[in-house]
Symmetry: D2
Subunit: 405 residues, 4 copies
Amino acid sequence: MEIKSSLVLESGESNFILLVMIKNKFFLGLVLACTMTASSFAHDVITRYRSVVNVPDIAGYVTLKCDFHIHTVFSDGKVWPTVRSEEAWREGLDAIAITEHIEYQPHKTDMIKNHNRSYELASGTGDDLNLMVVHGSEITRDMPPGHLNAIFLTNSTSLETPKWQDAVTAAHDQGAFVFWNHPGWDRQLSNGVVAWYSEHTELVNQGKLNGIEVVNARDYYPEAHRWAIEKKLTMFSNSDIHEPIGHDYHTRQGDHRPLTLVFAKERSQAAIKEALFARRTVVYSANRLIGDEQFLRPIFEKSIKFDRLSVTVKGKKAVLVQISNSSDIDYELDLANAPESCDAPQKMVLLGGKTVLLELKCGAKAKNSVVAGALKYRVTNLLIGPDEALVATLPIQVNVTLAAE
Amino acid sequence: MEIKSSLVLESGESNFILLVMIKNKFFLGLVLACTMTASSFAHDVITRYRSVVNVPDIAGYVTLKCDFHIHTVFSDGKVWPTVRSEEAWREGLDAIAITEHIEYQPHKTDMIKNHNRSYELASGTGDDLNLMVVHGSEITRDMPPGHLNAIFLTNSTSLETPKWQDAVTAAHDQGAFVFWNHPGWDRQLSNGVVAWYSEHTELVNQGKLNGIEVVNARDYYPEAHRWAIEKKLTMFSNSDIHEPIGHDYHTRQGDHRPLTLVFAKERSQAAIKEALFARRTVVYSANRLIGDEQFLRPIFEKSIKFDRLSVTVKGKKAVLVQISNSSDIDYELDLANAPESCDAPQKMVLLGGKTVLLELKCGAKAKNSVVAGALKYRVTNLLIGPDEALVATLPIQVNVTLAAE
Amino acid sequence: MEIKSSLVLESGESNFILLVMIKNKFFLGLVLACTMTASSFAHDVITRYRSVVNVPDIAGYVTLKCDFHIHTVFSDGKVWPTVRSEEAWREGLDAIAITEHIEYQPHKTDMIKNHNRSYELASGTGDDLNLMVVHGSEITRDMPPGHLNAIFLTNSTSLETPKWQDAVTAAHDQGAFVFWNHPGWDRQLSNGVVAWYSEHTELVNQGKLNGIEVVNARDYYPEAHRWAIEKKLTMFSNSDIHEPIGHDYHTRQGDHRPLTLVFAKERSQAAIKEALFARRTVVYSANRLIGDEQFLRPIFEKSIKFDRLSVTVKGKKAVLVQISNSSDIDYELDLANAPESCDAPQKMVLLGGKTVLLELKCGAKAKNSVVAGALKYRVTNLLIGPDEALVATLPIQVNVTLAAE
Amino acid sequence: MEIKSSLVLESGESNFILLVMIKNKFFLGLVLACTMTASSFAHDVITRYRSVVNVPDIAGYVTLKCDFHIHTVFSDGKVWPTVRSEEAWREGLDAIAITEHIEYQPHKTDMIKNHNRSYELASGTGDDLNLMVVHGSEITRDMPPGHLNAIFLTNSTSLETPKWQDAVTAAHDQGAFVFWNHPGWDRQLSNGVVAWYSEHTELVNQGKLNGIEVVNARDYYPEAHRWAIEKKLTMFSNSDIHEPIGHDYHTRQGDHRPLTLVFAKERSQAAIKEALFARRTVVYSANRLIGDEQFLRPIFEKSIKFDRLSVTVKGKKAVLVQISNSSDIDYELDLANAPESCDAPQKMVLLGGKTVLLELKCGAKAKNSVVAGALKYRVTNLLIGPDEALVATLPIQVNVTLAAE
């Protein structure tokens, strides 16, 4: 019997009565005296629902939450393709790409090879759930060029070809977007070092390599981050998941899979493709955002809200400004500048979904003054470069008054 | 790339340093000044571990936690067989049976049929993890006889045969234990009613039907419970899982899959088989135990501990007895009898893993007395029959003293 | 030493380094080699933050979350008054009333009596945290009239007077709002029954009794609910908290104190007072809302969002409509009406903060049709009367197409 | 009305029925048709229970969980003394000391001074709950000597005296145990440095200073740790709590207050006093244990269990050894030594209450061998000195077999 997982509590009168029994057997007699029949416990635990990933949209774009590197039993993964759509729907994603290995087929003893089949099955479930499933494949070679994902394919079969150059060209000819997977994978290092090869340069020059994974699973590659900036490649953060998602993520609250945030003109596959070629992505890995300042700054600014924009500090009494953060990201702040003769916290964490207090105090040497733009924090988990945090100026005007006390 | 899920943090000095960076980017510069190289974030979230199912052993037996009804992609399930062993290990199970449908093969377009293959793959992982994997199959027919699981098979292939009687006999000839799955499944009801057929009687008489699912997934079948008692069938509580376990269970803390508790002479497949034929099982579904009083009573008694066994109640002052429960089950108690002229709580819940307070008060009419065995509670979530809760006598002697106050 | 609880991580370089040590002692040597000084672990756990209570505003009003019945050590409570403001701020409340017993002062051996002092202390902290603290007192008498809270007082001292009538008049003369506390309290029942006395009638007629607790702590009083409707009294849901709030609430996720939702023209004490006299409140207790349909209907409608408002059901294939609920309330739905020949779930729970699926199927007898307004659910946890749930019509147009497939 | 917080569900038939209504309003009609009366919702959330702190006993001693530094409204704390006993009981503590400031009485406007009163009130509740409450006071002076706790007092009044020397002597004369509080408190540093004064030397020499806080609240003082070792002072880890405990701890799962583990001959105040003078304590702060190797080693060893003590590694195939940890502490392991030519994880975390996998692999150069005692790990969160972790030898014999495969 396959029990369809569902929030629908199928129930007639009889199920009802036993719902009561679950909680309290004593009650049963009382009820049965009135109703007489009862055949099964009702399903009273709701297990199927979609959560929200709270990262704000930015001006002109919707912020789509995507994962473009996913495996199933059709290559070396461990779940049926429909599971990938269900998992992603539950987690609040907008789009996934199914990217089976072309060359690596460890289940070939048990499965009938079909490079397109996994996408077909996953996209059927995706359609039911209003989740976008992108058709992809992973060209899986030794270094160079290593593993390359081609997404927005029309037919994966033509990628099975002896020379990797032909496979990339086949993908390119289908209009695919191609990116380099896990460039820092330890099994493909060059003398222990993450290396960029001339083959990669050539692919970039030909327009056949368009992006790079800056994060794969729980690994961050600073070199890939640097290359993405220098060589104008689109940054990705993907799960490369093989097991059921719950085996690798979600075992603790807040532990989400790595996501590629895509700033798209609308919620459609065409808009995602356009955004990827236009390099409008941000890496969202653990509690970090990594990407261009033009995206990180508005995400931060749209996430937080102050209970007032002008604050009067009188004498030595501390004043508490309330800062609310509507996103899921805990912004980690480190003081870069405070108004003269005033104290602000050296460190603060603006907890996701919560309001925290910013305590301001101005000391003995403070003068009557009105200061705006002097309170600055580095947001240490928003990286605009491998070594560079976003610096945010808090929009609070501080009025210092030397009140007698 | 397949990232092996592992608790092992592979790390040299360089990973170390970036662990710091995860928390605090500012710190990075400081550290790098000293160490210079750094290539990736360390994996600092531990996702692979086994939990404990706390149900005590009882005299003479180990209490094994088992699930004897499980599907994978090799019939209509959605995960690769190895996943089933990994899931069960993580959840603290001792044994599972892999029970693919013989007749129902919806993935046949994509998979090469092999009725034994699923067991082979799952038991490989089981061996690595010290989890027992039992070889089973599901004979999947219309009613009668409905769906039957045969476990402890040696070869599933011989169960593929036109007549269900032949399939059951083939299993029986292999020494298999056969039980009736989800007898209350709504698609196999007889005019809306759960029905026992003459075919079932015949199988029982021939010794070819040995058990019955009293619980399947989240459904409890009181009729099956009654039949198990009357016809001396072994009771089962199985998940019949098709999806990754996390899609149907564990979305809330404490939400475990249904388990068949087996009281075995040792932790081995042979001992499980012996215990099943000897009818030494208990159903553990949600927060309920269902089974014979000879098993439920010692489980309850071995779970709870009192901070004292004799309590003196003086005058009107309430006395608090502390009751600790080392099991995972929240025992739900309903007062059946209190010592004369004394008040005890009408209801109590002995929370799993916690200590709660039993407040005793003896009123104006109480006499100086010493009373033992008078404090009785029905444990409403321990069912020894479809309508009958276990009644437990608390081992507390109450000494009533009419102290002046 | 009093450690001020604070999110501010006070830290120089040295604390920094030891933050690392917390996680990983091995690292310490490495770092110390570079930095040399280190004196204490940094505080790396954030404990002080405000959560949000997600209940939407309704047209013309802000929805304020309030608790108008609270005790401290200044009567029979167990915490200092400032704690009440801190607790309420953390929980996301907008306003609290401090309501010490006038007549019941069990701590008088240890405390110097001052009926206004508790309010003074709590409102100091309230001002710092931008939480409104209302000045109240509890007139504490036998039945009739039982316990009455007077809020928006100017001076509590004048309420200490032998006759309860004089106390109520003193409150009324200060412009106070007076409501009846826990009318169903078991120690004040009349022959085991909740009773309305002629004294209450008189107070209502004089305009001196303006509201009633429909919920006190975890108790709901259907009679009080009925009286509130019949006698046009304002409904309240208050905690009547004596212990630290964490002893009675929050021991499980989602377990909030009872709240009186006030629909106010602005966020001010004056606006709250106006709203109370105008009877614009709703009871929010556990997962239930209780109140007038004019408030419950827009709260429900503003909480939920559909992924589409028109759905086409073709042949027998089920269609999944996604329903998102941005409030904290899990709306419990029970089917009242489905479009002809179509199936909709008998029960659904629209989980707070989540999206769930509404599965629609239209059967063999369905005709080509366009149906709007036919899908109706009782929202069984939104009570517009003691026995009456809100009935909601889902704004989905169902287009049935008997397409061949 | 004071609602006694209790797990006891007071309920008659009528409460019963409305319990059902909470879950399901539809059901109400059905039930009421049979039963007719119903007055209030039952209390169905259990909030009062005691948790367990899982740290094993060691040979010859019970491991008592204690906090010897606690404030209430009787000095500068924020809760009534009875709350302190209730909090500690719920958290699984065995003993607390109430230690009000003698000299610092900020609530004196509102409270009647009585240095013994706080202990009296707290110990009353302690007696009801079988929690030991120790009579203490905090001698609160500038540095030197700073703040000193005297515990096991008989009368705190005699400690109110102008000279701090006289206060210490008064405590000493009552047989009290005296320890130095938060020696690294930033407001009492000497030129920014934690300093030991000649006054402290003199007190130690006179036997009047017996212990030192190595941890206060969330602060660890390495200097105090060093002094405790050098000067043979008993180590303490105390909360110094002023607010309700839930404001500073427990806002995340597993976030416990700092505890002083006392290895006592029995569970009594006399045994605790004996153990303190005999220096049998360990600091338990966050996820760290700090103390003498003679205590840390058996705690670690009694916490963990292996699924086998001898393991055979054949060829290159990895073998998984299962390690279970029955304590609450996540032991953080760092490889110190592996058997020759074999690989063991560089890092492991033995999660509290869980089982994890130790993967062993022996490489090409390994020879047939039997090796015991070669697998060693530093347990980096068990500190036997400020810079020194416990080194543990895992009791696993590794049999290496160069099997052909």
